[in-house]
């Protein structure tokens, strides 16, 4: 017992303070990956059956809501396509080179193999690693909503660990899409929920409920550019308020990504790598 406790303490020390065990851990995790994938495949039919049953309950009301949403989005799409065309023409005319966006990255698709294990844990394991060009710090997005999921924390040859945006140590410079001067830091709202907070937004800036928050990318001439390309959607503003005590606005943001049911993700790998 004493020997095992001592061995555990040595493992914690070595694993936490150095990367000496990363190779061994990566290889072992790679060996475990097929078993995790197999268990996932076995459980999938049951999971799908549960989802199907749950979907039936509110299918009718959801269908009605989605039909009206499609009408609105069609109109929005027409306007947006016109704006994109105009943007491309103006950029070409001005020879304008902006901040890196999502199109400047190669998209590596991956399955989520390990979900968060408890209330403290805000990370997931994915089935791609350094063999696919993934490195620590790479940005991860959701393939469906294209919303921001988090960043790669540790990368091994065939697997990687992704720290979610809801982790207390996550912070992303973000901006209100409709009010581009309202820049702040997206941080988890706490309390165990997925709600986010757009912090450090000046009281003088205008932020409205329903506004879309996107990643700001690198601002100014910082020595350390942001790892996040500009324009990745983060979420929508659900409420905003201010008081005399806090020098900044209190902006609550609902994330675009459903962190509780991540099945797959996209890792953005710089094209030059």
């Amino acid at each position: 017992m004493g020997l095992l406790v001592l061995l555990s303490l040595v493992l914690i020390t070595v694993s936490f303070r150095s990367s000496a065990l990363d190779g061994v851990q990566g290889t072992a995790a790679g060996i475990l990956k097929p078993f995790e994938v197999a268990a996932d495949r076995v459980a999938r039919p049951f999971r799908d059956a549960v989802s199907w049953g749950r979907g039936l309950v509110d299918a009718k009301s959801e269908n009605k809501r989605l039909k009206s949403q499609i009408q609105t989005l069609r109109q929005q799409l027409t306007l947006d396509e016109g704006a994109v065309q105009q943007n491309v023409q103006l950029k070409a005319a001005l020879n304008y080179h902006g901040l890196p966006t999502i199109v400047d990255f190669r998209q590596v698709h991956a399955s989520v193999s390990v979900n968060p294990q408890n209330a403290i844990d805000q990370s997931v394991g994915i089935t791609v690693g350094t063999n696919n060009g993934v490195r620590a710090g790479d940005v991860v997005i959701d393939p469906v909503s294209k919303g921001l999921v988090g960043t790669v924390d540790r990368a091994f040859p065939s697997v990687a660990s992704v720290t979610l945006l809801t982790d207390t140590q996550s912070a992303v410079t973000s901006v209100d899409l409709t009010s581009p001067t309202a820049v702040g830091i997206i941080q988890p709202g706490g309390g165990g929920s997925d709600a986010l907070v757009l912090d450090l937004v000046s009281k003088t800036k205008v932020v409205r409920e329903g506004d879309t928050i996107i990643t700001a990318g690198s601002l100014g001439r910082s020595a350390l550019p942001s790892i996040f390309p500009r324009g990745i959607p983060v979420g929508t503003v659900t409420s905003q308020s201010s008081n005399d005590v806090n020098p900044f606005k209190n902006v609550q943001v609902k994330p675009l990504v459903d962190f509780s049911s991540l099945q797959s993700v996209i890792v953005l790998v710089p094209k030059g790598r």
Binding site: M1, L4, V5, L7, S8, L9, V10, L11, I12, T13, V14, S15, F16, L21, Q25, A28, A29, L32, F35, E36, A39, D40, A43, R47, S113, V114, N115, P116, Q117, N118, A119, I120, D121, S123, G125, R154, F156, V159, A160, S161, D167, T168, Q169, G190, G191, G192, S260, S261
Partner: protein, 170 residues
């Protein structure tokens, strides 16, 4: 033989937890691995429980790409402790698995918070405390079938096999 059986049971439990149970947020606080480990420790004793706990912890830390040793340390200690309980006062008591699971669920959750705190990692004790009642409930619900299954796989030892135990006379 017992070792291989325990390794297989805990490996399957770990896979189930990693790939299936944690898929649903409401079940994320439950730990079938913890319940399985404590059941095995109760039936096979302290040394067996400690070794099984160490191996299971290492497996979980490896699969989740977390800091190696954290889960091992906790599961080694709790595996040993509950194993010792099984060797002494818990013998043939119906409530023993439930009491063990309830106690260790709380201690494991706060032990994890404590270790995270010591390592300078986020350690939201309030969040863990709020999730604890559900974790207790789910783990206690899991205890009945898991303990019954493991008791079939690891029948209680005969008196003669318990060589390390203290025999109470009189």
């Amino acid at each position: 033989m017992n070792g291989i059986k325990a390794a297989l049971v805990l490996f399957v439990a770990a896979l189930f937890q990693l790939s299936v149970l944690t898929e649903y947020r409401q079940f994320r606080t439950a730990s079938i691995v913890l319940v399985a480990l404590l059941s095995i420790a109760l039936l096979r004793g302290s040394i067996f429980g400690a070794i099984a706990g160490f191996g299971t912890g290492l497996l979980l830390d490896t699969a989740t790409l977390g800091t190696l040793g954290i889960t091992s340390l906790l599961l080694t200690v709790f595996g040993f402790w509950i194993g010792r309980y099984g060797e002494t006062t818990a013998r043939d008591r119906f409530h023993a698995p439930f009491l063990s699971v309830a106690t260790v669920t709380g201690l494991y959750a706060f032990g994890l918070v404590g270790l995270q705190f010591v390592l300078g990692q986020p350690a939201p004790a309030g969040l863990v405390a709020r999730g604890l009642p559900l974790a207790l409930l789910l783990n206690l619900v899991l205890t009945l079938p898991v303990y019954a299954l493991i008791r079939r796989l690891f029948p209680p030892l005969e008196l003669g096999d318990r060589v390390r135990e203290v025999r109470l006379l009189g």
